[in-house]
Subunit: 364 residues, 2 copies
Amino acid sequence: MTEKSSRTEPIHARGGSGATIADVAQAAGVSVATVSRALSGNYPVAKATRERIFRSVTDLGYVANAHARALAGATTRTVGIIINDVADPFFAYIARGVERQASAEGRMCLITATHGDKERELALVDLMREQRTDAVILVGGASDDARYRKQMADRARALDAAGSSLVLCGRPSLGPGVPTKMVTYDNEGGAFAITDYLISQGHRRILYVGGPRDFSTTASRLAGFYRALDARGIERDPALVHEGAFGRGFGYSRMRELLDQDVDFTAVFGANDLVAAGILEALEERGIRVPQDVSVVGYDDVPVASELRPRLTTVRVPLEELGREAVRLALSQSPHDAGASSDNTLTVGTHIVIRDSVSPPSKP
Amino acid sequence: MTEKSSRTEPIHARGGSGATIADVAQAAGVSVATVSRALSGNYPVAKATRERIFRSVTDLGYVANAHARALAGATTRTVGIIINDVADPFFAYIARGVERQASAEGRMCLITATHGDKERELALVDLMREQRTDAVILVGGASDDARYRKQMADRARALDAAGSSLVLCGRPSLGPGVPTKMVTYDNEGGAFAITDYLISQGHRRILYVGGPRDFSTTASRLAGFYRALDARGIERDPALVHEGAFGRGFGYSRMRELLDQDVDFTAVFGANDLVAAGILEALEERGIRVPQDVSVVGYDDVPVASELRPRLTTVRVPLEELGREAVRLALSQSPHDAGASSDNTLTVGTHIVIRDSVSPPSKP
DNA sequence: TTGTCCATAGTAAACGCTTACTATTTCTAG
DNA sequence: CTAGAAATAGTAAGCGTTTACTATGGACAA
């Protein structure tokens, strides 16, 4: 019996942390190596021995120390996900997809929130790096900032060097040569489709409200919006485009202002469903009927869209699917993207769902 | 130079995991101990040395290995939270509170979901135990099952023995003597208040719909409901109570059945807002006006409640606050509850919020 | 009988960090 | 000037696992 294995009480007496593998080994009368093998099952252990070990495990209520395991072994079986806000349905559904797929692949899921703070986002990536997660999934649009891009690219490289990977989910590439994987949805296409639908119903003066300025998501949706106008030969009118923020509050207050200013329009494109909800509220408050007097559409198709009255016509984004795919891609062995679009970037489609908030304009 | 410090490449060449503290030490020309001290800042290090070290750290893109740190040091700076579903707003708001408070206290947050599976819940507690989280927060009602209770009690003891703690959030105690902390909200009181409000408006025949049978949350809400009836001398009618599930779908389908059966009632108490949303939908479908023909109330005051038309009168539960408090309590040094209610159990209040879904009954 | 091979089990060296001791300077007081 | 106290650095012993090597004892073939 060596000195080491003879200790019976922890040296630092750290509040009596639970049983260790050594305790189990002692109780079962075998070496720690044998216990480790019996537990991981990747090496033959005699049946009788194994049973004795398992009995000791339950008797002692032993669970392995994940940190020791991570330190000694290879992988941590954890994926990290960074979102804006846990309670925002857009992110919550993506997180659900990530959580489900991760747990289906036997991983835990470390969820953190940036609350929209870019610096915090960078810090969180580092935190996940410290945790040695198998992958880190970065969700949601990104602001267009060169310094930020460079910093994130550095982290992508560090993650890559450590055998992990950075998955960009619904946000633009960090540039060629930066080792990332990407899963996105057809933002521009959805915006095009729903704008075109509005036009096909006879609308010509369409207000675009919401979405932060210089933000990738806003840029794509606006691009689709403009493309639809251009395709039908409708002039772009800057007075009709009102960026600002995502969120119900923004939709409500900006719509009120616009109503006060007597702008001429027959339909409103809310940058997302929450903005559209705010728009609907402002409209309702002024006694303007939807869709009889003005039509409204949103984007994302989160549950509010169908709670609203009238039910909101919007663009469906397969949020949960997006999260699932992000994990699949992250955990797949495919090499990272090293530039030109390889199969490391996956795009899921969007489509419009027609409900009750659009009709032909009353004043044609 | 010892053998150990002379190694320059990792023995297992594990896909080139990032720089280690030894690399930083070498680059800065000091010992690892000094680097460790400079980084944690809990021991004096000469200014020049410290600067040299920090320079090497950024040069190498070094971040500490959280697992090694957890293994060597005391705490993991992580709290675990177990909820039903990330995308259910009830849980999402609690999770947001947890996430915010945890990050305010410099902790990470491990979020997992049970999808309503009791076995999975037990397994998740073990997973968190493996992760050696500083605390594990268990959210939401629990089913009343002796075997389950015993198993969870065992885990509470194990967690306690390991210096961590189990926080029960919005669920009943595991019994006297089990070391847990609790934060709850006044479920019964809220149900009483809103039922009493309905009665004060003149309602006598009130339907109660939703909530799983043998579930702690359902039990408390029903208790409050009954207490209000009793207080006003209204007879309890079993035909008016319809347990089943939380969720929009249940509210919708059960309400349809009830409507077909011609049950006599003037108001409906939805076990939560989602159930109430389903109820509203079924009512709308049949052309029954709310609140003119029947009044409806919900519980929780999640965002849907104010999206609905009519806006739902409901009971406000300070969800985010609940999550925050759970973390505060978990991380506080107060000893665990060892039986009789000590200050380890905290109850936050609920109150009704009156909106547009209730009016006096038309047929009095 | 002897030599081989297989099934099991044990030994001990990492993994990357923290921290109790120890060692070396450099001050500061007497 | 010098003893003793700071201030600053280094050494090395863990922390709880995994796993490459070794060791042991039969079973089995020759």
